[in-house]
Symmetry: C2
Subunit: 233 residues, 2 copies
């Protein structure tokens, strides 16, 4: 069971990555030299170098003779998103909102494909999840679990490897687990939610991808809007 101990190189890379994502170094700014960091972390330079290669592959830094520099966020890999949202300090609410927005569209896409080509078993499972979600007396956390599970169902049934790759990067398990669940449960918008849930159920049963996509998009939109309003207050 004992998993391989985490190499120093990995944790150094993680530390530097988080420092960069936290904005500790401005974009384009030079990172400390490999020799400096080696001394600072108390490791050999080659260890720092390996960490640097990771950072470059992640797209958060570019390495050149003369010095490594911080790369602009938009040139990074999608993989940074998860780390960005996982930072202990409250991440930029703007990023969180944009991630949720992208997640909405992404789930809509997956829902469309899933709806069009799901097997009978998958379809039944999706409908079952939906009906469970419509139960009025549902714990907030359970509700969120269901949403997550449904999303995974969509991606699986979409049978598209590219979607699966993207899904790995998107924060399917957002930091706001309970909050999102609560919003789906007992907001004044409960009725709108149920409307879309019913619409989605019908779409799935009738294999109507376009409607399923639209329903999922609106569903996600409701949650996002709610989270946004609360964040603003």
């Amino acid at each position: 069971m004992s998993s391989t101990p985490i190499p120093q190189e990995s944790s150094i890379a993680a530390t530097l990555r988080d420092d960069i994502l936290r904005g500790q170094y401005r974009c384009g700014e030079r990172l400390p030299s490999e020799r400096d960091l080696a001394q600072r972390f108390g490791v050999h330079r080659s260890t720092v170098r390996e960490a640097f290669k990771r950072l470059e592959q992640l797209g958060v830094a570019t390495i050149q003779r003369g010095g490594a520099r911080v790369a602009p966020l938009e040139e990074a890999s999608l993989d940074v998103l998860g780390h960005l949202l996982a930072l202990d300090d409250a991440p930029d609410p703007e990023i969180v909102d944009q991630a949720l927005e992208a997640l909405s569209g992404f789930r809509a896409m997956a829902a469309r494909l899933a709806t069009e080509r799901a097997s009978e078993a998958q379809r039944a499972r999706m409908v079952a999840i939906l009906e469970a979600m419509m139960a009025p007396d549902l714990d907030a956390r359970d509700r969120f679990e269901l949403v997550t599970e449904l999303g995974e169902c969509f991606v699986a049934a979409s049978d598209n490897i590219v979607l699966r790759l993207i899904a790995r990067g998107l924060p399917a398990r957002a930091p706001d687990t309970h909050r999102a669940g609560r919003f789906l449960a007992d907001t004044p918008r409960r009725e709108a939610v149920d409307t879309q849930l019913r619409r989605l159920r019908t779409a799935i049963q009738q294999a109507d991808g376009a409607i399923a996509a639209e329903a999922v998009y609106r569903l996600s939109g409701i949650v996002r809007q709610q989270l946004r309003e609360e964040a603003r207050s």
Copy 2:
């Protein structure tokens, strides 16, 4: 002007990556040891190590004491997609199709957001591109350029960093440039294409995201279907 020469470590990483993506090593199989590869490439082991760190960050391999192993494709980073499609040998047509499918949905998502929040200037530019695309006597390559440009417009106007990150990984510039352009140009489906183009133009002008998304999705779907049929023959 002379850009920094490509480090050996980078090209070794690229070689190994392509070997893996080409299926030269089966999933789960052990990669040659660092020492072996160092000798094979005629470099020092530490150079191979740096390449390995890249591969691990890319998600195509996992490194453990005892040996590095090839990771399943679905655990890789979205970044591999571009490399996968760029392989000189004809990439798996199934993957190509799935990528186009994902691209369809992705562009639809971007179109929706762009339509809803584009500035007047951006909106005008999108409409201009659309009208250029409707010209009957358009070179296939130009047509494809327009499609690509429109896609970039959508992502830019969507003003969503996450979408931008995903866009970097998707093959916006697919290998089938001219083919795709040709299909948009002179297929019997030309009429269907024009219908969707007009629909999209109207949607953009009226800021109707849902319709824009649907139009873009169908537009991409037409091309994809066509490419698929040709591939099958």
